[in-house]
């Protein structure tokens, strides 16, 4: 029993690794077989091959590689065209219409080649397309653009004339920006400047482009959702300049110290000069010089107190402080303007994923 384990494991591993490639190869082979059978008018066999081709080719439509996705899209559209035609010749008009409806919803740009398929086939397709309201979105796989200056361009193709609404939403379904709401006849070019409804660039993250086809009464029929991976590149802003330190500001009003020093010093010294000589030499007839100098010192002290009385505004210091503040404000304004310029200079990189179709009932 143990002997069989190793070979079985090898087969399992091989099956896992080569299965997608084999499946793609099988789907392509089945498509070729179906087209060959259709050409040989073996419609039953053609229908079988084509149905199997569609079933096996389904996973490739969600491949992350846009090139693989396109190849599978073309293969599937081709299979649907031949299958619908086969159903018509087998006398299954309902199945044919359902298949053509799948083709329209897959991509409205694919339609039966009128040189390959007879009018009885293309007429059915045209009727189905006319009654199926759907939009195909062509978005660049990756686009870099500068917000506010350049545009992210989307081209939309309509299956038939109808109204549609085009929004960019967050993953949670919150509307970020409405790009368009109105009729689409054949195709329409829509541009996004990279800003949200408030005029600000979005944050880095995953968003979705939602294109909703509407009935004439405004009700939603179905929507195509394209995931958008948005990367935001913003230049670093400059730090705001620090306000001047308190130690740099000069006192704007006179302090009480110098004024009281002048008053007390002047009165004390002047008084001492007036009194002390007479006290020391009480028995002597002194001259009047002490009155002159003592009075001058006292008067100078009083004058000094009045000129530097506490709380008086010092105009020179007020002007110097105002100049200091003005210099800081000027530097702040420069930085703010520079930062506004830098913040406005935003580059977005938008990568579009595989679109998905959501019918109204599925929402």
């Amino acid at each position: 029993m143990i002997r069989y384990r190793t070979p079985l494991l090898a087969v399992a591993v091989a099956a896992c690794t080569v299965a997608p490639a084999l499946r793609a190869q099988t789907s392509t082979q089945l498509l070729q077989d179906g087209i060959r059978a259709y050409g040989d008018l073996e419609f039953e066999a053609a229908a079988g091959f084509l149905r199997q081709s569609l079933e096996t080719g389904e996973p490739g439509l969600n491949n992350s590689d846009p090139t693989v996705r396109r190849v599978r899209l073309v293969a599937r559209a081709t299979a649907l065209q031949y299958l619908a035609a086969t159903e018509i010749f087998l006398g299954h008009p309902d199945s044919a219409q359902a298949t053509f409806r799948q083709l329209v919803l897959l991509d409205v740009r694919y339609q039966p080649d009128r040189l390959v398929f007879p009018p009885e086939v293309t007429n059915v397709y045209d009727a189905v397309r006319a009654e199926t309201k759907s939009v195909t979105v062509r978005a660049p796989d990756r686009s870099e653009f500068r917000v506010g200056e350049q545009q992210y361009e989307l081209q939309l193709f309509a299956s038939t004339f109808h109204r549609a609404e085009i929004n960019i939403e967050t993953r949670g379904g919150t509307e970020l920006r409405r790009l368009y709401r109105g009729p689409i006849a054949d195709s329409v070019m829509v541009q996004w400047d990279g800003l949200d409804a408030n005029g600000r660039p979005p944050l880095r993250g995953t968003y979705q482009l939602v294109v909703t086809s509407l009935e004439t009464d405004g009700t939603s029929v179905r929507s195509v959702r394209v995931p958008l991976e948005v990367d935001v590149d913003v230049r670093d802003t400059l730090p705001h300049p620090e306000p001047p330190a308190d130690s740099l500001f000069l006192p704007e009003r006179t302090a009480p110290g110098p004024a009281y020093e002048a008053l007390a010093g002047g009165l004390l010294m002047g008084g001492m000069l007036l009194i002390m000589p007479g006290a020391l030499a009480s028995d002597t007839d002194l001259g009047g010089g002490r009155y002159l100098i003592g009075g001058a010192v006292s008067l100078a002290g009083i004058t000094g107190f009045l000129t530097r009385r506490p709380g008086r505004e010092i105009a020179a210091n007020v002007a110097a402080n105002a100049a200091l503040r003005r210099g800081w404000q000027d530097r702040m304004e420069l930085v703010v303007r520079e930062n506004e310029t830098r913040l406005a200079d935003v580059q977005l990189t938008v990568s579009a994923g595989a679109p998905t179709l959501v019918e109204q009932a599925e929402r």
Partner: protein, 218 residues
Amino acid sequence: MRLKSTRSSLALAVSLAALPAVALAQSPVGITVGAAVAAVRVNSQTGVLVSQLSGVIAGGEGRLSLWKASLDLRYFEGSADSSGEGDGKDIVEGEAMLGFRPLSWLTVKLGPHIRSMISDVGTQRWFFWEVRLRGEATLGIPVLKGYLEGWNVISNNLDVPEPWDRGQGIEGGLRLQSAGRPLWARLGYRMDHSRLGSGARTETMEQLVATVGFSLGR
């Protein structure tokens, strides 16, 4: 005699001024030099005899300061005449005070104070050791200061017959320092009073002094 003294004071002032100003500006050393003129009034009383002389004396003064220490030098000479019929006297006075500044506005000084009174009958020499206290205050504007200095004689050597009792003095006034320039001016009143022989004799000298000068360094 008088001419010789004048020459010595002039030599002192010139030698102090000759020190390099640039070096002083950046050092803790400060030098102040000034020339002064004073109206002097001398009152001598011996018993019932009262003599009053008045005149003008002139001289110079200087200060050398280093951190909180200072040396004040002062020299004056001149003459005073009697307003009555008494004889005049020549006056020569000098002092050298060593100071210490414990606070920015207060200085304590100690030093000798010499005075000679020369008349036709002879010369009286007075030698005192004095201790002084000097205070300063800014009077409103930084360039204007008031000052007051008081002193007491702690020792003396006199060639007079009366025994010594006490001696005290006071000086005060205004000092104006020119803003941004080393020039300054001072106007002051000075009075010293000596009492001898239990009040039998008193000697009082008053001076009204005007000084202009310049300062270097601090």
